[in-house]
Amino acid sequence: MVEDEGIRRYVAHFILWIGIAIVAFPVYIAIIASTQDNALIANGQMSLLPGGHFFEVYYQTIFVGTSGSTREPVGNMMLNSLVMALAIAIGKIAISIISAYAIVYFRFPFRMSIFWIIFITLMLPVEVRIYPTYKIVADLHMLDSYAGLALPLIASATATLLFRQFFMTVPDELLEASRIDGAGPLRFFWDTLLPLSRTNMAALFVILFILGWNQYLWPLLITTRDDMQTIQVGIRKMITTTDALTEWPIVMATAVLAMLPPVFVVVAMQKLFVRGLVETEK
């Protein structure tokens, strides 16, 4: 690398810290607001330093909910979000890895047609077919259910393509050695291919978990009962009421709680996250 002189280095550090400040400021404000008194905020008198209502606000948020709008404890919303995110991540990985296995390691009639049928789903996110999908889920009596929340979001090819790509790089000799060692297709999958896919599965899991946790439009449509609300839907409903009635500390505490799990995953599993992000976009 070409060495930069001192002054340029300081400029780089400076710009990066400005970037970090811009990125972090809204979150800082949210954390601060979640520790303050609502009356103060509503008057536009919010302080930029932490207030003293931290425990009180978070206790009410998690276990009680707002007193006005939804009245649903955010703890329950988080549980719903968690179940949905896990169902999407695990479900997608599970069905994708086995179908990719079939497509790469077997030769059978309609193999290519099936591959294309799955592949095309890459092109259309759920948003563009939202009402017809809603109707199907309603017809199947899956409104207000975890299945209804997760299944339509599982119907996509990203993971299948990723696994297919990975399987193609596994040396053929490994399968041949397994065959000579007396392993059939299922045993090869379980004993060899699955353990080798561990890192890929983990990276994919990280990305899918974040995407699942952050889903909004779909849960907004298909959950009507308050106790099936996800946290993203819940937070929107909290600010539906007239401005004066919005309980801002609780809204902000909910925002912080909604960010916590996915941000934790990104920071704690940074390597897997970066890998998953780059791989799924390829």
Binding site: P171, E173, L174, E176, A177, R179, I180, D181, G182, A183, R187, D191, T192, P195, L196, R198
Partner: protein, 361 residues
């Protein structure tokens, strides 16, 4: 223990490409058979057909008196060592070796005995808990061997097992493999493109070219009496000098059956630098063009004079006019020097004009 017999074995791919064009080979019980040939000659395909990894489209493969054409690889009672070893990267050395035994439902105590015995023989005992990526190339190779040994199969199959090792290790492992095979006395089929490896390992050498067997036999017998010009130039290094000659020329010089011959072959080491022409032998005047001194011996690259430049142009032969001569390392003619080399009658190899037939005269 078993013998392996290939009867008119063929392999035709769906596109119509004929990879194996009817091969007959018989490997007796406990023998070490080496399939050798240039890349693309079908030797690996043939081995994989014996393993059951490629389907057989014609003929029969017989292992221990049982035709195995339709039998799964796992049920053929064979073990295979792959070129890239194909170790399971996520399993320890111990589990790599134990995997095939576990799949067969062997008792864990018996597995332990076998794996530990194999590890002892292969000097892997200290590494049983390591993963393949923590091992050196030579150690991985030995694990691959171990995985084959613990199975105690009827037949070992080796697919260029040493080609990923450096030259020194390759020679050491070659000796190891041979010693091991002698001790276990297990029938083995070994594929390589390295003729030196083939010569040193084989009880039975099978030279292949273009999906066909060129010659089968004892390595030294093949070296001494190559059946075709292909075998003549493939076995032995540097390769045999092959010169095309007009039949009448040969007849007048050698007489008798030699009259059919169109190509004369002489190995580099069978030449001597001399002014005499041995009775019934041949002599060539050469101009020295290049010299390679490698210590114990010296290779002389010379071009023949004008009137002799009628060299056969089939592939694998010397470029027109070039002759290699091997002489003791103590001697070295100067570049540009004109010399005369000669070979005695017994050292001449005669082939038909197309190079497909050896002529004994």
């Amino acid at each position: 223990m078993a013998n392996v017999t290939l009867r008119n074995v063929r392999k035709t791919y769906t596109g119509g490409f004929e990879a194996i064009k009817g091969v007959n080979v018989d490997v007796a019980d406990g023998q070490f058979c080496v399939l050798v040939g240039p890349s693309g000659c079908g030797k690996s395909t043939l081995l994989r057909m014996v393993a059951g990894l490629e389907t057989v489209t014609g003929g029969e493969i017989d292992i221990g008196g049982r035709v195995v054409n339709q039998i799964e690889p796992a049920d053929r009672d064979i073990a295979m060592v792959f070129q890239n070893y194909a170790l399971y990267p996520h399993m320890s050395v111990y589990n790599n070796m134990a995997y095939g035994l576990r799949n067969r439902g062997m008792a864990e105590a018996e597995i332990k005995t076998r794996v530990e015995e194999a590890a002892r023989v292969l000097e892997l005992s200290a590494m049983l808990e390591r993963k393949p990526r923590q091992l050196s190339g030579g150690q991985r190779q030995r694990v691959a061997m171990g995985r084959a040994i613990v199975r105690q199969p009827k037949v070992f199959l080796f697919d260029e097992p040493l080609s990923n090792l450096d030259a020194k290790l390759r020679i050491a492992m070659r000796v190891e493999i041979r010693k091991l095979q002698r001790r276990l006395n297990t029938t083995s089929i070994y594929v390589t493109h390295d003729q030196l490896e083939a010569m040193t390992l084989a009880d039975v050498l099978v030279v292949m070219n273009g999906g066909q067997v060129e010659q089968v036999g004892n390595p030294l017998a093949i070296y001494e009496k190559p059946a075709t010009t292909f075998v003549a130039s493939f076995i032995g290094a540097p390769p045999m000098n092959l010169m095309s000659t007009r039949p009448d020329e040969i007849k007048s010089q050698l007489g008798g059956a030699a009259g059919e011959a169109g190509i004369v072959g002489i190995r580099p080491e069978d030449f001597v630098i001399t002014d005499q022409t041995p009775a019934g032998g041949v002599a060539l005047p050469l101009t020295v063009e290049a010299i390679e001194r490698v210590g114990a011996e010296t290779f002389v690259y010379g071009s023949r004079e004008q009137e002799d430049q009628r060299v056969a142009a089939t592939p694998g032969e010397l470029p027109p006019g070039e002759i290699i001569v091997r002489i003791p390392g103590t001697e070295a003619p100067a570049i540009g020097q004109k010399i005369r080399v000669a070979a005695v009658r017994q050292k001449l190899h005669l082939f038909s004009g197309d190079g497909r037939k050896r002529i004994e005269a």
